[in-house]
Symmetry: C2
Subunit: 263 residues, 2 copies
Amino acid sequence: MLTKQANPAEIRQHCRLQTHTGNTSGLAAGFVQANVVILPKADAAEFLQFCQLNPKPCPLIAMSGQPGDIGIASAAVELDIRTDLPSYRIFHQGELVAEQTDIREVWRDDLVTFLLGCSFSFEEALLADGLEIRNITEQVNVPMYRTSIRCQPAGKFSGPMVVSMRPMKPADAIRAIQICSRFPQVHGAPVHFGDPAAIGIADLSQPDFGDAVSIKPGEVPVFWACGVTPQLAIAEAKAEFCITHTPGCMLVTDIPNSKLALF
Amino acid sequence: MLTKQANPAEIRQHCRLQTHTGNTSGLAAGFVQANVVILPKADAAEFLQFCQLNPKPCPLIAMSGQPGDIGIASAAVELDIRTDLPSYRIFHQGELVAEQTDIREVWRDDLVTFLLGCSFSFEEALLADGLEIRNITEQVNVPMYRTSIRCQPAGKFSGPMVVSMRPMKPADAIRAIQICSRFPQVHGAPVHFGDPAAIGIADLSQPDFGDAVSIKPGEVPVFWACGVTPQLAIAEAKAEFCITHTPGCMLVTDIPNSKLALF
């Protein structure tokens, strides 16, 4: 049975044995969990450029060395990317065609794996500083919204920036900006605060993804670039083939969160 | 004739010779300008504690070594604090009694000098990053406001925090928070943004000190702790004797602004 005390390698082993197939929220405290995007070599160069041009929504932590590689030694020892996530989604031409716990049967020797930073890391840093994270307090998924901010396009990849939102008092938001600025590889500082309409969000109570959270008097909504952004770009590009993690079911890496701190 | 190209030592020499008796805004680009507070030894320990407890409004850069010392070698070579500012204000029992360009005649051998950071340093860093500073654009003094935020008291010294305000778009405010966080000795990150009433400010168009500036659509007011705070605390304390710089007429030091950056 998987416990909260399990280390990253143990968690990946449970995933591989399919004794853990659910989300990874709250597991392996202190270690980086990564968004996973797997694309054929034919699309990988353009996707890498998309990440390079849009580092806030698509912060690249690591990528596989050669097409077909199932390991990424810099992120996780003895990784088999085909089995070590709890759950995967498979897309053809941008359409979701399957969700499964093992992708060995669909693996190809031209596939390239990208690991992108995830908000779990910065939420941990904010909580450690004594700040409240509303979606955690209210035990729901963070609310996420499509915005009018356009990503910088790279070849077939383009689309709107998606943001996550956490309400805070202004003094707490200032502290959160300081803390998150130390972690550019997990989305970094917020991209906006205050008026949602300024970034094309019509109604905070109607998120495009995740769940709405309450906003108390004296709080302002604070918006971070979100890792759903590349998923939309891949869907819009109608990439021939793509595999991602199932939302919330991240790759648990061996990288301590503190290793991603700039200073 | 004093020019904008003059170095700090040259500017202090002009002050000493009374060939420059006006404000120091825009002079000696790249060097720290300091707020100056001079108090008798009897009050110095409590004032030092007040600075220690309230580092955002009272960021101590340097102080004189022994009572009566006229130099502070760590801040300025060959400093004579009695002559090297353009203009001084003299207070008895918290009341302004004189404004003069030389304080040799009132100097006492029990006086202790404090140098506190000033917003000129962080404004320079913001401008260098391409941000607009509205009070500079509009060529007026920055607007300053008394707030409902109370300083931590230290002996006879207490009072409200005074803040300066610069309007910015949210994305620019986030960048300003990042930049200013590197400079805790010149007030550091803002203390508030958005709703003025949340910190006890009734009307932004009626600053308590300085001049109002325009706020454009889509901008929010951003508030920094201000060096006027210790002046109010000294006035409220009715300190027996105190000398400060005349507002805007700072001590130009030999310390490069970059030396105050944390990283």
